[in-house]
Subunit: 168 residues, 2 copies
Protein backbone atom coordinates (compact mmCIF):
# COMPACT_ATOMS: atom_id res chain seq x y z
CA UNK A 1 0.00 0.00 0.00
CA UNK A 2 1.42 3.35 -0.98
CA UNK A 3 1.25 5.90 1.83
CA UNK A 4 -1.04 8.79 0.78
CA UNK A 5 0.41 12.29 0.57
CA UNK A 6 -1.60 15.46 1.16
CA UNK A 7 0.16 18.70 0.38
CA UNK A 8 -0.49 21.82 2.46
CA UNK A 9 0.13 24.76 0.18
CA UNK A 10 -0.24 28.50 0.31
CA UNK A 11 1.84 31.62 -0.03
CA UNK A 12 4.27 32.67 2.68
CA UNK A 13 2.99 33.58 6.14
CA UNK A 14 -0.48 32.23 5.55
CA UNK A 15 -0.25 29.71 8.41
CA UNK A 16 0.70 26.45 6.72
CA UNK A 17 2.79 25.15 9.59
CA UNK A 18 0.11 26.05 12.14
CA UNK A 19 -2.46 24.18 10.08
CA UNK A 20 -0.17 21.14 9.78
CA UNK A 21 0.34 21.12 13.56
CA UNK A 22 -3.41 21.09 14.14
CA UNK A 23 -3.96 18.39 11.52
CA UNK A 24 -1.24 16.19 13.03
CA UNK A 25 -2.81 16.48 16.49
CA UNK A 26 -6.29 15.68 15.21
CA UNK A 27 -5.10 12.75 13.07
CA UNK A 28 -3.20 11.34 16.06
CA UNK A 29 -6.29 11.67 18.27
CA UNK A 30 -8.04 9.52 15.69
CA UNK A 31 -5.33 6.88 15.95
CA UNK A 32 -3.38 7.59 12.78
CA UNK A 33 0.39 7.77 12.50
CA UNK A 34 1.60 10.82 10.62
CA UNK A 35 4.81 11.79 8.86
CA UNK A 36 5.65 15.20 7.45
CA UNK A 37 7.91 16.30 4.62
CA UNK A 38 9.01 19.91 4.48
CA UNK A 39 10.83 21.36 1.52
CA UNK A 40 13.02 24.39 1.85
CA UNK A 41 15.26 25.90 -0.78
CA UNK A 42 17.37 27.52 1.92
CA UNK A 43 18.71 24.25 3.23
CA UNK A 44 18.63 23.32 6.81
CA UNK A 45 21.75 23.12 8.88
CA UNK A 46 20.37 20.74 11.41
CA UNK A 47 23.63 19.88 12.94
CA UNK A 48 25.73 21.88 15.32
CA UNK A 49 29.33 22.79 14.88
CA UNK A 50 31.65 20.70 16.99
CA UNK A 51 29.22 17.83 17.49
CA UNK A 52 30.61 14.44 16.52
CA UNK A 53 28.00 13.98 13.84
CA UNK A 54 28.80 17.39 12.38
CA UNK A 55 32.46 16.37 12.30
CA UNK A 56 31.55 13.19 10.41
CA UNK A 57 29.67 15.20 7.79
CA UNK A 58 32.40 17.83 7.54
CA UNK A 59 34.99 15.13 6.97
CA UNK A 60 32.97 13.96 3.99
CA UNK A 61 30.48 11.31 5.08
CA UNK A 62 27.68 11.16 2.55
CA UNK A 63 25.18 9.93 5.12
CA UNK A 64 25.39 10.30 8.88
CA UNK A 65 22.94 8.53 11.16
CA UNK A 66 22.71 9.55 14.81
CA UNK A 67 20.84 6.95 16.80
CA UNK A 68 19.57 7.08 20.34
CA UNK A 69 17.14 4.76 22.12
CA UNK A 70 14.14 6.89 21.19
CA UNK A 71 15.10 8.66 17.99
CA UNK A 72 17.12 8.35 14.81
CA UNK A 73 18.37 11.33 12.86
CA UNK A 74 19.70 10.95 9.35
CA UNK A 75 21.57 13.62 7.42
CA UNK A 76 22.17 12.75 3.79
CA UNK A 77 23.81 14.73 1.01
CA UNK A 78 21.92 14.68 -2.24
CA UNK A 79 23.01 15.06 -5.82
CA UNK A 80 19.51 15.98 -6.91
CA UNK A 81 16.51 17.72 -5.41
CA UNK A 82 14.18 14.80 -4.77
CA UNK A 83 10.44 14.94 -5.34
CA UNK A 84 8.02 14.31 -2.47
CA UNK A 85 7.20 10.81 -3.68
CA UNK A 86 10.89 9.91 -3.87
CA UNK A 87 11.47 11.19 -0.34
CA UNK A 88 8.48 9.22 0.90
CA UNK A 89 9.67 6.03 -0.77
CA UNK A 90 13.20 6.49 0.51
CA UNK A 91 12.58 7.49 4.13
CA UNK A 92 9.02 6.92 5.25
CA UNK A 93 7.53 3.70 6.51
CA UNK A 94 5.10 2.69 9.24
CA UNK A 95 2.77 5.66 9.01
CA UNK A 96 -0.73 6.11 7.60
CA UNK A 97 -0.37 9.48 5.89
CA UNK A 98 2.21 12.08 4.90
CA UNK A 99 1.51 15.80 5.15
CA UNK A 100 3.87 17.85 3.01
CA UNK A 101 4.72 21.52 3.05
CA UNK A 102 6.66 23.66 0.63
CA UNK A 103 6.80 21.62 -2.54
CA UNK A 104 5.63 23.59 -5.52
CA UNK A 105 4.04 21.97 -8.54
CA UNK A 106 3.58 18.53 -7.09
CA UNK A 107 0.85 16.20 -8.36
CA UNK A 108 -0.64 15.34 -4.94
CA UNK A 109 -3.95 16.47 -3.45
CA UNK A 110 -3.64 19.97 -2.02
CA UNK A 111 -5.15 22.00 0.78
CA UNK A 112 -4.49 25.69 0.24
CA UNK A 113 -4.24 28.08 3.16
CA UNK A 114 -5.52 31.38 1.81
CA UNK A 115 -5.24 34.80 3.47
CA UNK A 116 -6.27 37.41 0.91
CA UNK A 117 -5.37 40.24 3.32
CA UNK A 118 -1.72 39.16 2.91
CA UNK A 119 -1.71 37.77 -0.63
CA UNK A 120 -4.83 38.69 -2.65
CA UNK A 121 -4.35 36.03 -5.31
CA UNK A 122 -4.80 32.35 -4.65
CA UNK A 123 -2.05 29.87 -5.42
CA UNK A 124 -3.87 26.82 -6.76
CA UNK A 125 -6.77 25.98 -8.98
CA UNK A 126 -8.85 22.84 -9.08
CA UNK A 127 -6.56 21.68 -11.91
CA UNK A 128 -3.72 21.57 -9.38
CA UNK A 129 -5.57 18.81 -7.54
CA UNK A 130 -6.93 21.25 -4.97
CA UNK A 131 -9.27 19.43 -2.58
CA UNK A 132 -9.96 22.14 0.00
CA UNK A 133 -9.30 25.75 0.93
CA UNK A 134 -8.67 26.93 4.48
CA UNK A 135 -9.47 30.61 4.96
CA UNK A 136 -11.31 33.12 7.14
CA UNK A 137 -12.42 34.77 3.90
CA UNK A 138 -15.41 33.81 1.81
CA UNK A 139 -13.96 32.42 -1.39
CA UNK A 140 -15.41 30.03 -3.92
CA UNK A 141 -12.82 27.86 -5.59
CA UNK A 142 -15.12 24.98 -6.41
CA UNK A 143 -13.86 22.92 -3.48
CA UNK A 144 -14.87 22.71 0.19
CA UNK A 145 -13.95 25.77 2.31
CA UNK A 146 -12.97 25.47 5.98
CA UNK A 147 -12.18 28.04 8.64
CA UNK A 148 -8.67 27.70 10.13
CA UNK A 149 -10.15 26.44 13.40
CA UNK A 150 -12.48 24.01 11.70
CA UNK A 151 -9.93 21.20 11.90
CA UNK A 152 -12.35 18.38 12.62
CA UNK A 153 -14.30 18.87 9.42
CA UNK A 154 -11.10 19.26 7.39
CA UNK A 155 -9.68 16.07 8.85
CA UNK A 156 -13.01 14.34 8.23
CA UNK A 157 -12.54 15.16 4.54
CA UNK A 158 -8.96 13.87 4.48
CA UNK A 159 -9.93 10.78 6.43
CA UNK A 160 -12.82 9.99 4.10
CA UNK A 161 -10.76 10.50 0.98
CA UNK A 162 -7.48 8.82 1.95
CA UNK A 163 -7.64 6.94 5.22
CA UNK A 164 -10.91 5.07 5.54
CA UNK A 165 -10.38 1.36 5.18
CA UNK A 166 -12.91 -0.12 2.83
CA UNK A 167 -15.43 -2.24 4.70
CA UNK A 168 -17.70 -4.94 3.39
CA UNK B 1 25.68 -6.60 -1.72
CA UNK B 2 25.50 -5.82 1.97
CA UNK B 3 27.41 -2.66 2.87
CA UNK B 4 30.29 -3.54 5.22
CA UNK B 5 30.35 -2.01 8.70
CA UNK B 6 33.55 -1.29 10.64
CA UNK B 7 33.08 -0.21 14.22
CA UNK B 8 35.45 2.31 15.79
CA UNK B 9 35.48 1.56 19.50
CA UNK B 10 37.35 2.72 22.56
CA UNK B 11 36.67 4.25 25.91
CA UNK B 12 35.66 7.90 26.26
CA UNK B 13 38.03 10.66 25.16
CA UNK B 14 40.40 8.33 23.36
CA UNK B 15 39.94 10.07 20.01
CA UNK B 16 37.36 7.92 18.21
CA UNK B 17 35.75 10.82 16.34
CA UNK B 18 39.11 12.23 15.29
CA UNK B 19 40.10 8.83 13.92
CA UNK B 20 36.81 8.51 12.05
CA UNK B 21 37.33 11.95 10.49
CA UNK B 22 40.76 10.93 9.23
CA UNK B 23 39.49 7.60 7.93
CA UNK B 24 36.60 9.27 6.09
CA UNK B 25 39.00 11.70 4.39
CA UNK B 26 41.40 8.94 3.37
CA UNK B 27 38.63 6.66 2.11
CA UNK B 28 37.18 9.53 0.07
CA UNK B 29 40.60 10.29 -1.43
CA UNK B 30 40.60 6.68 -2.59
CA UNK B 31 37.24 7.14 -4.25
CA UNK B 32 34.98 5.43 -1.74
CA UNK B 33 31.68 6.76 -0.48
CA UNK B 34 31.33 6.61 3.27
CA UNK B 35 28.44 6.71 5.72
CA UNK B 36 28.68 6.93 9.49
CA UNK B 37 26.41 5.76 12.27
CA UNK B 38 26.86 7.24 15.71
CA UNK B 39 25.06 5.88 18.73
CA UNK B 40 24.44 8.02 21.77
CA UNK B 41 22.40 7.14 24.80
CA UNK B 42 21.88 10.81 25.54
CA UNK B 43 19.73 11.42 22.52
CA UNK B 44 20.36 14.16 20.10
CA UNK B 45 18.09 17.12 19.82
CA UNK B 46 19.02 17.99 16.31
CA UNK B 47 16.19 20.31 15.73
CA UNK B 48 15.77 23.85 16.93
CA UNK B 49 12.87 25.20 18.87
CA UNK B 50 10.54 27.23 16.73
CA UNK B 51 11.63 25.76 13.42
CA UNK B 52 8.80 24.41 11.31
CA UNK B 53 10.21 20.90 11.41
CA UNK B 54 10.50 21.08 15.19
CA UNK B 55 6.87 22.15 15.30
CA UNK B 56 5.89 19.15 13.16
CA UNK B 57 7.67 16.79 15.56
CA UNK B 58 6.25 18.52 18.65
CA UNK B 59 2.75 18.20 17.26
CA UNK B 60 3.28 14.46 17.04
CA UNK B 61 4.69 13.56 13.62
CA UNK B 62 6.43 10.21 13.91
CA UNK B 63 8.80 11.02 11.05
CA UNK B 64 9.74 14.45 9.75
CA UNK B 65 11.79 14.86 6.59
CA UNK B 66 13.35 18.22 5.80
CA UNK B 67 14.48 18.34 2.19
CA UNK B 68 16.55 20.92 0.41
CA UNK B 69 18.22 20.73 -3.00
CA UNK B 70 21.47 19.41 -1.54
CA UNK B 71 20.50 17.64 1.65
CA UNK B 72 17.78 15.61 3.31
CA UNK B 73 17.38 15.39 7.05
CA UNK B 74 15.12 12.80 8.63
CA UNK B 75 14.05 12.75 12.26
CA UNK B 76 12.23 9.60 13.29
CA UNK B 77 10.87 8.50 16.64
CA UNK B 78 11.66 4.92 17.54
CA UNK B 79 9.92 2.42 19.75
CA UNK B 80 13.08 0.38 20.13
CA UNK B 81 16.82 1.03 20.17
CA UNK B 82 17.86 -0.29 16.77
CA UNK B 83 21.07 -2.23 16.18
CA UNK B 84 23.69 -0.93 13.74
CA UNK B 85 22.70 -3.43 11.06
CA UNK B 86 19.06 -2.41 11.33
CA UNK B 87 19.96 1.27 11.00
CA UNK B 88 22.13 0.51 7.98
CA UNK B 89 19.38 -1.48 6.31
CA UNK B 90 16.78 1.18 7.06
CA UNK B 91 18.66 4.36 6.12
CA UNK B 92 21.86 3.71 4.23
CA UNK B 93 22.23 3.15 0.54
CA UNK B 94 24.65 4.18 -2.18
CA UNK B 95 27.84 4.03 -0.13
CA UNK B 96 30.73 1.56 -0.02
CA UNK B 97 31.30 1.34 3.71
CA UNK B 98 29.81 2.35 7.05
CA UNK B 99 31.98 3.49 9.96
CA UNK B 100 30.18 3.26 13.27
CA UNK B 101 30.90 4.81 16.62
CA UNK B 102 29.41 4.23 20.02
CA UNK B 103 27.67 0.88 19.72
CA UNK B 104 28.72 -1.52 22.42
CA UNK B 105 28.68 -5.26 21.97
CA UNK B 106 28.09 -5.31 18.25
CA UNK B 107 29.22 -8.25 16.10
CA UNK B 108 31.09 -6.17 13.48
CA UNK B 109 34.83 -5.84 12.95
CA UNK B 110 36.31 -3.37 15.39
CA UNK B 111 39.16 -0.93 15.49
CA UNK B 112 39.93 0.07 19.06
CA UNK B 113 41.43 3.44 19.89
CA UNK B 114 43.52 2.84 23.00
CA UNK B 115 45.08 5.46 25.27
CA UNK B 116 46.37 3.70 28.38
CA UNK B 117 47.34 7.02 29.96
CA UNK B 118 43.60 7.79 30.17
CA UNK B 119 42.11 4.31 30.54
CA UNK B 120 44.69 1.63 31.43
CA UNK B 121 42.53 -1.33 30.46
CA UNK B 122 41.62 -2.11 26.88
CA UNK B 123 38.00 -2.48 25.81
CA UNK B 124 38.03 -5.34 23.30
CA UNK B 125 39.66 -8.69 22.84
CA UNK B 126 40.22 -10.62 19.65
CA UNK B 127 37.01 -12.49 20.49
CA UNK B 128 35.12 -9.21 20.01
CA UNK B 129 36.13 -9.27 16.35
CA UNK B 130 38.95 -6.80 16.94
CA UNK B 131 40.90 -6.27 13.73
CA UNK B 132 43.27 -3.46 14.71
CA UNK B 133 44.37 -1.24 17.58
CA UNK B 134 45.22 2.44 17.18
CA UNK B 135 47.52 3.71 19.91
CA UNK B 136 50.70 5.64 20.62
CA UNK B 137 51.50 2.96 23.18
CA UNK B 138 53.19 -0.34 22.52
CA UNK B 139 50.53 -2.94 23.11
CA UNK B 140 50.21 -6.46 21.81
CA UNK B 141 46.63 -7.57 21.36
CA UNK B 142 47.30 -10.13 18.67
CA UNK B 143 46.11 -7.77 15.90
CA UNK B 144 47.88 -5.08 13.85
CA UNK B 145 48.83 -1.92 15.77
CA UNK B 146 48.79 1.54 14.14
CA UNK B 147 49.83 4.95 15.36
CA UNK B 148 46.99 7.52 15.34
CA UNK B 149 48.63 9.33 12.41
CA UNK B 150 49.26 6.16 10.45
CA UNK B 151 45.97 6.44 8.63
CA UNK B 152 47.16 5.19 5.26
CA UNK B 153 48.22 1.81 6.62
CA UNK B 154 45.05 1.49 8.67
CA UNK B 155 42.89 2.28 5.64
CA UNK B 156 44.97 -0.16 3.57
CA UNK B 157 43.93 -2.86 6.04
CA UNK B 158 40.26 -1.89 5.89
CA UNK B 159 40.37 -1.62 2.11
CA UNK B 160 42.00 -5.03 1.72
CA UNK B 161 39.59 -6.70 4.08
CA UNK B 162 36.29 -5.12 3.05
CA UNK B 163 36.53 -2.98 -0.06
CA UNK B 164 38.74 -4.62 -2.64
CA UNK B 165 36.69 -5.92 -5.50
CA UNK B 166 37.71 -9.42 -6.40
CA UNK B 167 39.52 -9.49 -9.73
CA UNK B 168 40.06 -12.40 -12.08
Amino acid sequence: MTIPIVSITGKSNTGKTTLIEKMIRELKLRGYRVATIKHTIHGFDVDREGKDSWRHKQAGAQITVIASPKRATVIEDMDVDLEIAELRDRYITGVDIVLSEGFKGNPFPKIEVFRPEIHPDPLCTKEDNLIAVVSEAQTDRGVPLFKPDDIQDLVDLVENLYLKKSTL
